[in-house]
């Protein structure tokens, strides 16, 4: 469904250039959930932004549903691929009502039955009709993230790109949003790429994952391997140890992987 071959992304020119993504490749089958894990600056979000067309400065090959992607994407692409961002406070227009936020993609794509689609989308993400004419500031973080999911799904895409969708939320709200995402995936046969720094969230949501460090994929593995605590690469092992909680003795053995990647 999604094919990424030798993707490179750099920012800036000459000596100031930052090589954010260094020749990474991966495939995601239809109906699969694929996790991209890494620490800040590892390039995981940049991969998502290149794939979604938000960042045109990339080289390599990207393909979605058998179609090679260019730098510019047409409407048909966006009807197929939608994205949910990390910050539910920054990703909704503060002066638009939820109704207007959800109506915009429908208008852009010239779809019919806007009214019915909006009320259905709200219903599907567990928000009642009473939320329809509210503004984002009248909603909690979890409710806003539900609106962001509704906006992404209203075009009935096949692929959802999720960039840290729950890292700004309290754990009890995170559980609700993760359950929602899993239910929607099963109902609509969606394909997910989930970017997260949280190994437990990826283990819960995905079947396979790639671990990124310093712009490169250090390891690709199944979640079963992660659960069995059998990562092959020392960087992944360290990430896994760190995710399991505070352990004074283990911390002294931590290595610095940023320079060696």
């Amino acid at each position: 469904m999604i094919r990424v071959e030798d993707l490179n992304v750099s920012f800036g020119h000459g000596a100031a250039a930052v090589h954010a993504v260094r020749g990474i490749s991966f495939h995601v089958a239809a109906g699969e959930s694929f996790g991209l894990v890494g620490e800040s600056g590892s390039g995981k979000s940049t991969v998502l932004r290149a794939l979604s067309g938000l960042n045109p400065d990339w080289s390599g090959q990207l393909a979605v549903a058998g179609q090679t992607l260019g730098r510019r994407r047409d409407k048909a692409f966006y009807k197929q691929v939608q994205m949910v961002f990390q910050d539910p406070y920054g990703s909704l227009h503060p002066r638009h009502t939820i109704d207007r936020i959800l109506a915009e993609p429908i208008a852009i794509h010239g779809m019919d039955e806007a009214d019915r689609r909006i009320s259905r989308a709200l219903d599907e993400v567990g928000l009642g009709p009473q939320f329809r004419y509210r503004y984002p500031h009248q909603l909690s973080g979890g409710q806003r993230q539900r609106v962001a999911v509704a906006r992404a799904l209203i075009l009935e895409p096949k692929i959802l790109l999720l960039d840290e969708p729950t890292s700004a939320l309290d754990v009890s709200v995170q559980a609700e949003v993760l359950n929602l995402l899993r239910r929607l995936k099963a109902e609509r046969d969606l394909t997910y790429i989930l970017v997260s720094h949280n190994l437990a969230v990826v283990a819960h949501m995905c079947g396979r994952l790639a671990v990124m460090n310093h712009g490169a994929v250090v390891e690709e593995m199944s979640v079963a391997q992660l659960r069995a605590r059998e990562p092959a690469h020392p960087y992944t092992q360290q990430l896994l140890t760190a995710s399991l909680g505070y352990d004074r003795a283990a911390i002294d053995r931590f290595e610095d992987f940023t320079a060696t990647a």
């Binding site: 620490e39 800040s40 973080g141 309290d170 754990v171 009890s172 995170q174 559980a175 609700e176 993760l178 359950n179 899993r182 239910r183 720094h197 949280n198 190994l199 437990a200 969230v201 283990a203 819960h204 949501m205 979640v223 992660l226 659960r227 360290q238 990430l239 896994l240 760190a242 995710s243 399991l244 909680g245 505070y246 352990d247 004074r248 911390i251 002294d252 931590f254």
Partner: protein, 283 residues
Amino acid sequence: MTQNPLLAVEDLRVDFATPKGLVEAVRGVSFSLGREKLGIVGESGSGKSVTGRAILRLVRPPGRVRAKKLEFDGTDLLGIDERAMRQIRGRHISMVMQDPKFSLNPVMTVGQQIAEAYRINGKGARRETKRRALEMLEAVRIRDPERVYRAYPHEVSGGMGQRIMIAMMLIPDPDLLIADEPTSALDVTVQLQVLAILDDLVTQRGMGLIFISHDLNLVASFCDRVLIMYGGQVLEVCDAKRLNEAKHPYTRGLLNCLPRIEAGSSADLPVLRRDPAWLDQGV
């Protein structure tokens, strides 16, 4: 430890008069702290940050702080004047705030700010101050301390800003450090390395630490004791090592709704159902 606590808090209440009525952010919190790591855990809005700020008398009007007792090392913190309070802030109790963007002075270099924090101890020649500041930056794992020393806050990343704040708060050698989500913007490995520095200060120098966080797993593995806050009250106090045996349904609910690496991913995560009665179950 219980006879002579570093900090004693009894029936702490903080409320804010707003146009829509009185908001009670903290409703009767009591605890005492020795030379240990005490975690305060809760979701957003539970009153955990306001509790931390109230101890340092950083709650501004219309906020109002009351307590039967708020005593630090024998000093009544609510009874002393602002001048005496300034002697305590930084030197004896310091606080690492959550967001470095709003807590660092944007028009002073990092080095100047750390040096200022060091000089409140009243000592130190200029060269000595700089040496200590660079040492402290290195201790919080900043790789190029000389560059960061000369940089302005907007020139460093959020994670680095957080580490700079920690360096600044530790340099006056406080007896008590209140850390409000001090590591939430850091990557897991760096987060643990910074916690290890705080841990060593507690065990080696006998500093007291109040660690405010929403991360149950981290608090359970890092702290000695944990207070669970909900709706401005402490619902439960337990040994950090035994957080998994916590009894209150709220604590249990929070623990259960965390995804786990080991668990099978077939089932949905349990969702927390809130009981209005919890609002009146403070201990």
